[in-house]
Subunit: 388 residues, 2 copies
């Protein structure tokens, strides 16, 4: 039998792959996790392997609560927080409590393509709302909500990545944050805030979470260790209203499981309590910031100036606008022939848009390879048959 | 702030708790998991922390496939197996692919009470089928299926624990296994086989899994490391038809997550490859078998002979029939006043039955405490106001 794979993305050494939003393996905290696992089993012994406290292991919840209170200017009560298996699982759990198949859910456009699939898998009816360089257009959203209500399809929720958005890298402006949570509270839909990139702010502190600004119960904020530590841990959390947290804790799934990931949760709690979290995230910020800058610089050098982008303030992604007449789906095979790859913008649109956009990931490779990838993309562009 | 709990069940030293189906913490493989974690991070490095192969980490899948082929007389192809976060999560995943709210799902009666909740949380319509000491009554099931089809409510699935049942401890007889998988194939409902107790057979090898007997695609067999290693790992697997496995691997949830639990999966793969699985399970079998025997012996000594049970061939549970006029719900507070506890049978019935049954767990305590618990139960019975 040939060996089955270990990881999701199989590396092709001939392609510099700026498509997949994965971290650089060389930056993953192998030694810190090793120490965390050793500490958790030494300190908690069999308790680390038993059915866990349903909301998550106490030491992890306590570390998260202290960090949130210190960083976000809003304290979270123990009955407003729940450990999850990461954002995707937290999103799916929240949807299980908030929606039924056929319900209408709003998504910004573009948005994280696999979140679209998670929503569609639940039989939800997706309605898109436009965005610009400052995030979702709250006035357009308000209009859409009013229309949907008139049509008897009141939206149950909005899924959004307001901070260092996937795929655009933009952050929702502060005035729009305030307007958005007010609209949600008033119109009674829940904001599902995908907050996975919060720790990865490169120029200034991230904008406040929608959760921290909103009346209790308005926002389910989905946090994760996938980008700040490691995706293979499958560990995240959510902060939400007490009713939702209670419903999830009382669900058959979580009650029967004894929480989602007690062993890994205690490994990470020990890592965090040992003081290994902040230095690791500081290293990531430094590395990813200089990769972002190297990529942006190289794109300026190698691409025609009709290709435009904004330098993102954090996260994993650079989102590019292609000039009129150039479609990302047409460029992609040329780029791959030149030895680099990206995700075309259409992948991030539930409604067929994004054909003149592409997403570049600047976290997987070091600077030299990002520069090389930009040069190859430039070659591909020059080989376009009727390049404008 | 008072400390938040780590584990699900908070021990009350004044009560011998034969209610919760939990393993004895002193039997959990702390040292084996420590070695497995160290080996996984040393051997796989960052690959152990990256987004994982969606069906589960290759080394774990390969170990499971080899074990299943050796023990079950049916090999499993790589596209028929998927690593899960345990039975509850595997059941919920399978339901996400197989059912929609309002669909009819069959359950045996009695059955695992939290599986009932998982089914109900998905808005499914539960229909119960009676059982006896040899498991589910397949003729009664066939009748029920025919009735439901006549009523335009064709059942989509049957959830069953055919091997060392929770709560009854019984195993479905071999003739009924054959008849059951034939019925499911013919009537086109999927059997959701909860196979969590397979490794814990005390007297003779367990009966063949329904999955191993059935035509491909008829059975989703849910396996787990929760009872054989540790529940806090949240690690299991399922074997099923290629269509279902593909649908789950292509779901937004699993694609976005990169598999359910890559790090823990590789920890367990290393534990298993190091040869630590079989000796550990052998120790469990020996310990639990002698606990089962000690409890059964003590019940014979301390309880009136109008209280009846069968000694289970494996698993965690002893299921007791109470004499006419004695209800478990009435006995429970007396038992707790005597310093022991159990789960009343009604908890395992979706339809209000089981009032003259109770479930005793013989895995959490060593022999002396089980004997003490039996004696206390005897005291409680003697204190019943009108004891028959």
């Amino acid at each position: 039998m040939s060996r089955l794979p270990i990881v999701q993305r199989i590396d092709d050494p001939s392609i510099l792959d700026l498509g997949w939003g994965h971290p650089d393996p060389t930056l993953l905290p192998v030694e810190e996790i090793r120490r965390g696992a050793e500490a958790a089993l030494k300190r908690f012994g069999a308790d680390a392997l038993q059915y866990g406290h349903v909301a998550g292991p106490g030491p992890l919840l306590e570390w998260l609560m202290a960090r949130i209170a210190a960083n976000e200017g809003r304290a979270v009560d123990p009955d407003e927080i729940l450990v999850t298996s990461g954002i995707s699982s937290g999103l799916d759990l929240a949807l299980s409590a908030l929606t039924r198949p056929g319900d209408t859910v709003l998504v910004e456009s573009p948005t994280y393509y696999l979140a679209i699939r998670i929503l569609q898998d639940r039989g939800l009816d997706l309605v898109t709302v436009a965005t610009d360089g400052d995030g979702i257009l709250v006035e357009a959203l308000a209009q859409k909500v009013a229309e949907l209500k008139r049509d008897g399809r009141p939206p149950r929720a909005l899924y959004t990545v307001p901070t260092f958005n996937n795929p655009t890298g933009t952050s929702l402006s502060d005035p729009r944050r305030t307007a958005l949570v007010e609209l949600a509270a008033q119109q009674e839909f829940t904001i599902l805030e995908d907050d996975v990139y919060r720790e990865l702010a490169y120029d200034s502190p991230p904008a406040p979470s929608l959760w921290s600004l909103a009346p209790p119960g308005t926002v389910v904020r989905l946090g994760s260790f996938s980008k700040s530590l490691a995706p293979g841990l499958r560990l995240g959390w959510l902060t939400a209203g007490v009713d939702l947290v209670r419903r999830l804790c009382e669900s058959g799934l979580l009650d029967s499981s004894g929480g989602v990931n007690p062993f890994t949760g205690l490994v990470v709690a020990c890592l965090c309590e040992a003081g290994d979290f902040d230095p690791h995230v500081a290293r990531l910020r430094q590395a990813y910031k200089s990769r972002r800058d190297a990529l942006a610089e190289a794109l300026k050098r190698y691409l025609p100036d009709t290709f435009r982008w904004r330098t993102p303030g954090g996260g994993f992604f650079l989102w590019m606008d292609l000039p009129s007449g150039v479609e990302a789906g047409f460029l992609l095979p040329l780029a791959e022939a030149s030895g680099m790859s990206f995700f075309p913008g259409s992948r991030f649109h539930a409604d067929g848009g994004g054909r003149r956009n592409l997403r570049l990931v600047f976290t997987l490779y070091p600077e030299t390879q990002l520069v090389e990838a930009a040069e190859r993309l430039g070659q591909a562009i020059r080989s376009l048959p009727a390049h404008v």
